[in-house]
Symmetry: C3
Subunit: 342 residues, 3 copies
Amino acid sequence: MASYRLVQLAELTQGIVRGNAELVITAVGGIHDVPAGGLTFAENERRLQEALRSPASAILTAPNVSLPSDTDKSFLLHPVPRLAWAKILALYSPFATPPVGIHPTVVMGEGCELGDEVSLMPYVVLGERVRLGNRVKVYPFCYIGDEVEIGDDTVLYPHVVVMARVRIGKRVIVHPGAVIGGDGYGYVQHAGIHHKIPQIGRVVVEDDVEIGCNTTIDRATTGETRIGPGTKIDNLVQVAHNVQVGAHCLLVAQVGIAGSATLGHHVILAGQVGVKDHVHIGDNVVVGAQGGVAKNLPPNGVYWGTPAVPHHEWLRALAHLYKLPELFKRVEALERRLRERD
Amino acid sequence: MASYRLVQLAELTQGIVRGNAELVITAVGGIHDVPAGGLTFAENERRLQEALRSPASAILTAPNVSLPSDTDKSFLLHPVPRLAWAKILALYSPFATPPVGIHPTVVMGEGCELGDEVSLMPYVVLGERVRLGNRVKVYPFCYIGDEVEIGDDTVLYPHVVVMARVRIGKRVIVHPGAVIGGDGYGYVQHAGIHHKIPQIGRVVVEDDVEIGCNTTIDRATTGETRIGPGTKIDNLVQVAHNVQVGAHCLLVAQVGIAGSATLGHHVILAGQVGVKDHVHIGDNVVVGAQGGVAKNLPPNGVYWGTPAVPHHEWLRALAHLYKLPELFKRVEALERRLRERD
Amino acid sequence: MASYRLVQLAELTQGIVRGNAELVITAVGGIHDVPAGGLTFAENERRLQEALRSPASAILTAPNVSLPSDTDKSFLLHPVPRLAWAKILALYSPFATPPVGIHPTVVMGEGCELGDEVSLMPYVVLGERVRLGNRVKVYPFCYIGDEVEIGDDTVLYPHVVVMARVRIGKRVIVHPGAVIGGDGYGYVQHAGIHHKIPQIGRVVVEDDVEIGCNTTIDRATTGETRIGPGTKIDNLVQVAHNVQVGAHCLLVAQVGIAGSATLGHHVILAGQVGVKDHVHIGDNVVVGAQGGVAKNLPPNGVYWGTPAVPHHEWLRALAHLYKLPELFKRVEALERRLRERD
């Protein structure tokens, strides 16, 4: 069980203690689930009020919130409290690290190169000429195809499929059931038959990417499907062949991106958004949940709806949409009055 | 092959026979697929007419439908015929039960506790200190992480992933490829970088839940993501971290529920519905297919559209939407007439 | 490494060479990824201009585009250039074929019948009485249930689940993580409880079908869920119980088809489309991305929106929707003028 004094947590996060610096913290939790005596987290003034009523003994918050004087709780202050929270949660993680080494049930093809301190857990299959960096961790039932390259400190959770010739960078996390490098969906119709276009390209996943459970990223027809560095992909997302996702994007659950679409950096696609093939989305664009991007979007905007339009336009259209019954009546009234005058 | 006399089926379902009680039923099927001589099912008058033209020898229906006198078919009457149908289909299931016992290829960590008559099929991996109840059945390639608890009579079909510390109740059915307990999608952006917020909570799946193929249910950041008792989840559904789903809900295929949303009991979300994070949906609410729930919904309503509004409002707006071209013409005509008068 | 002279590629595709027939082609690629000296592909005039600026030495294009005279590039002309491209890409595929034979880790039930030259790779599990045709290839971690039948030349990529009694035809390709034959989502609600309706039917996948990564196709309640010949299904698609998909359909990523819906032949459902249960979609219908099909659609139309309407109707409604703010102002102006006159 993790156990730190509040002052230690302050040192580790470069925060400041208000109250009992020697308080021993053996548990952490959100406002609604922190156990008695634990540390909780309040991002702002309003949340702090809730946190003060929780059974926590200590609260991580920002230096600019006003702390009560009449409390027996202690405080850890940090200018970006959520960042400090992330660091502290890692300290209290109850999860074990897989043991270093190669389980005897691992099946490995010829010519594989493994870095130092690699963990290959039971029932992992590697094809030929696979290259794994240092400290790569592969959980049970992962399949890694021929000539795949995986960088240092990357983790593949159980049941991940990485098809042949995919390249994965460093510090990447791939969650259970994700499939990287399945065939792109490409056919040529001729005389009523869909003929398969072989998909002989690859997928490149750059450093610090995270890929969610059961997400699918297809290999390119030729060339590369690419996920830029620092991009985080949620569960059940579909990334089609030849898509280029920029750096530090967020693709929320169930997003679908069609073939050859390109995203700039820091693009955010909320849940269930769809993007048409060959469309370009500019840097820093945000698309609201369930939106459908059907044409190029310039940088820096917020878009909503199907087809996606600037947010304020969508809000206005929507507001008017639900006033339509009233508008129809007003037009009828106008017509009636004009008829009466004739 | 299952074989029952019609009177036996009546006894087992507490129904009543009209016609030949000694008729031997060796097959069952829907109206369009029942083989000759089998038993089929007609929920109401209209379906009964179709069933009478089928090759079935016997028809399960309700006592309040009017049976024909000039037929050689026999009838099984039950006040809730679909409930009786469910019982009878189980009797005619062609599927074998997996053998009790632990296949020699199973890999099990230290400190696991197994109930009576457990089935662990080939290539199952259990972490440490896993606890399985009586008669739990685990199909090939399931991964069960450290300290997972699974209640009596639960079935995990092939390729299910249950990550560490998840708790699953009794009589739960998890279909192939489902992932329970993957990391929630949580980051804190700082200086353009998305820093991972460790997800150290768990998932609790209560009794009598069913979870569809390739569905994903994320662990909580802290605390619990919870699926209430009796809730049935279809395929490819996404349940994010800290979501609380109440009892006896139906989540149809490809639904997505964002972080910390809460659902009351008996909520029905039709296919491809999306729910915003932190939103609350009241008891007995129904949301129509592809709807997007963007704010709290009080109990007992039927909602539709994105953003979801009361069904009648949506229908009215929609009806008017498709009459807009006409409305524009009517307004133009009014403008023309007023101009002519000026 | 594949290597063909341009004249050989012409012979293999029944095309014609313009330029250096003896040119040796050791690589192929799209316009933006073709390596120097390789063959690229330009479907039309506009693409040809781009291709001429690429480092390719040869360009596959159509006979009706006008070729430049002042170029050192050679050309391969074909009346359906994309079809020829598909053939050529197959020649340059870098992927190895799995070795014929049964890996010692394969677990096989009693009474299985295997055709000639079958490949069962490591950690494949077959139930009882499974029948595999000639040259069937099964990648690691596939689970094939009791009494499944799979036709000649079918490929199951890693982590495919085929539940008991499913029938798969010839030359079918199933991509990683797909689940065929999970239970349909059927319940009868009685006294507030959802009682499971056992799903005892099967799935039939006909010849030449392709099924994408993590796609789910549920078994029928009774009878069959059927995927017609030549139909191509993308990733993360949901096909519910008793659905009948006709021949040569395209179901793009994240499509969801509810129970007992039926599709004619050559139906195209674009990404994220949803289809209501029991609806029929006629032959050759196209439904645009994110559309929701809520009632029967006659053959040959193009539909869009939720609920799906003819494309031109949807476009017109949409155009007017975004002019609504203006229309409200115009109606207000009319009202003001009429008031002023009173």
